[in-house]
């Protein structure tokens, strides 16, 4: 089947499906808002998370810019924005319960939501199969 891609406002491929960065963040898009988190692979590599630094709502960020950090076993690891845009929400549950990152990294422990300014950037991310292969190789 040929890849369907619509020019202009409606984009077919990425909506509702998780996409991944090489830095082990995930993003899933609904109505031009990307929900962002770190992957299960990442939380395993970090160990027990004791502190999460979240981006402030309203901040405008560029793709690949640091948007926060996850601290585990005395190492603070920066988190990077998978896409450019404006932060519309951040998951303040994580401030009281940072360990949620270890329990539910790809669902309840989402980090923030980004209103996409440059949806074309999604084309550069990996789908689940490509990400799995990337992790297996690494």
């Amino acid at each position: 089947m040929a890849t369907q891609r619509t020019r202009g406002l409606i984009r077919v491929s990425p909506v509702g499906k998780k996409q991944f960065t090489k830095d082990h963040e995930w993003v899933v898009i609904h109505n031009n808002i990307g929900t962002v988190g770190i992957t299960d692979y990442a939380q395993k590599a970090l160990g027990d998370v004791v502190f999460v630094e979240l981006p402030e709502v309203g901040t405008v960020i560029e793709k690949a810019e640091a948007i926060g950090a996850v601290e585990s076993v005395k190492a603070a690891s920066d988190i990077y924005a998978p896409v450019s845009g404006k932060i519309t929400d951040s998951n303040t549950n994580l401030s009281d319960n940072p360990g949620l990152i270890n329990k539910s990294p790809e669902d309840e422990a989402w980090l923030c939501k980004i209103d996409l300014s440059t949806p074309e950037e999604l084309d550069e991310l990996m789908d689940a199969d490509a990400y799995e292969a990337y992790c297996a190789k690494g």
Binding site: L46, G47, K74, A75, D78
Partner: protein, 257 residues
């Protein structure tokens, strides 16, 4: 002998802020290699900027990332003691640095070592434990990070990782004046003390005494031969040029006669 070399430099006294800028300079260069330097070298030569920075700081208190922006009261009090004060982006909580303490900032690309962040921290702990063992000190890790002798901490650990690149590191008490720790709750742990190699051994052991032992054990744990940069500078031209172009420190890169 291991075939891969990890160079180290030793700065016997450097301000915290200067050392921080030096670390950032190396990490930034890794993200974006300096074109002018890169052009003259082949890929192998600029692909690694791994470096073990060993140093001593003047009296300095620092906090970790989770306390950022919340320590102005501490700052005023601790500066009043005549110490420098910095809020940092590393992991861990408040700690102290001063003369007589061996501070290590490994700037490593974890991809080169196939290590996760968790394994890297464990490797640092193992390095310190083995170093202490060689000095006849029985040190261990507990549920609280860092390295301990009994109920007293001998080495603090606090690391930042940016895209697999490490900075900050560890602080091993050799013969520093321990009274400076009395003004803080080290690493946020109440009811725990701190100690040093000299206190445990009841003899004066200097930073310079510990460096060769530390380098050997660091190399064994991370599978590298750790050598002074000055002795291997021809194999690390990009790293040498980066350090020289930093304008941050005067590194003794020429071998002394």
């Amino acid at each position: 002998m291991n075939s891969l070399i990890l160079p180290y430099i030793y700065l016997s006294k450097i301000q915290y802020g200067q050392a921080l800028r030096l670390q950032n300079h190396l990490v930034q260069a890794r993200f974006k290699p300096h074109d002018a330097i890169k052009k003259s070298l082949n890929r192998n030569e600029y692909s690694t900027t791994d470096l073990l920075i060993l140093l001593q700081h003047p009296h300095t208190y620092t906090t970790g990332r989770r306390d950022k922006g919340r320590t102005s009261k501490d700052e005023e009090r601790l500066r009043g003691l005549g110490a420098d004060y910095y809020e940092t982006l590393r992991g861990g909580q408040m700690t102290f640095h001063g003369p007589g303490q061996l501070v290590g900032y490994p700037i490593l690309d974890l991809n080169n070592y196939e290590l996760s962040v968790r394994d890297y921290v464990a490797g640092i702990e193992r390095t310190i434990i083995n170093t202490c063992a060689e000095l006849d000190i029985d040190a261990k890790v507990t549920k609280d990070t860092g390295v301990w002798v009994g109920d007293e901490k001998i080495c603090a650990i606090g690391i930042q990782v940016r895209r697999y690149l490490t900075m900050h590191g560890f602080a091993l008490n050799c013969n520093n004046d321990m009274r400076w720790f009395e003004h803080i709750v080290p690493c946020g742990l109440q009811n725990k003390g701190t100690t040093s190699i000299s206190l445990v051994k009841n003899e004066d052991v200097t930073v310079e005494n510990v460096i060769p032992v530390l380098c050997k054990n660091f190399g064994q744990v991370f599978d590298r031969t750790v050598k002074p940069l000055v002795t291997v500078r021809d194999s690390f031209r990009y790293l040498v040029e980066l350090l020289e172009s930093s304008n941050i420190i005067e590194v003794p890169l020429q071998q002394e006669d």
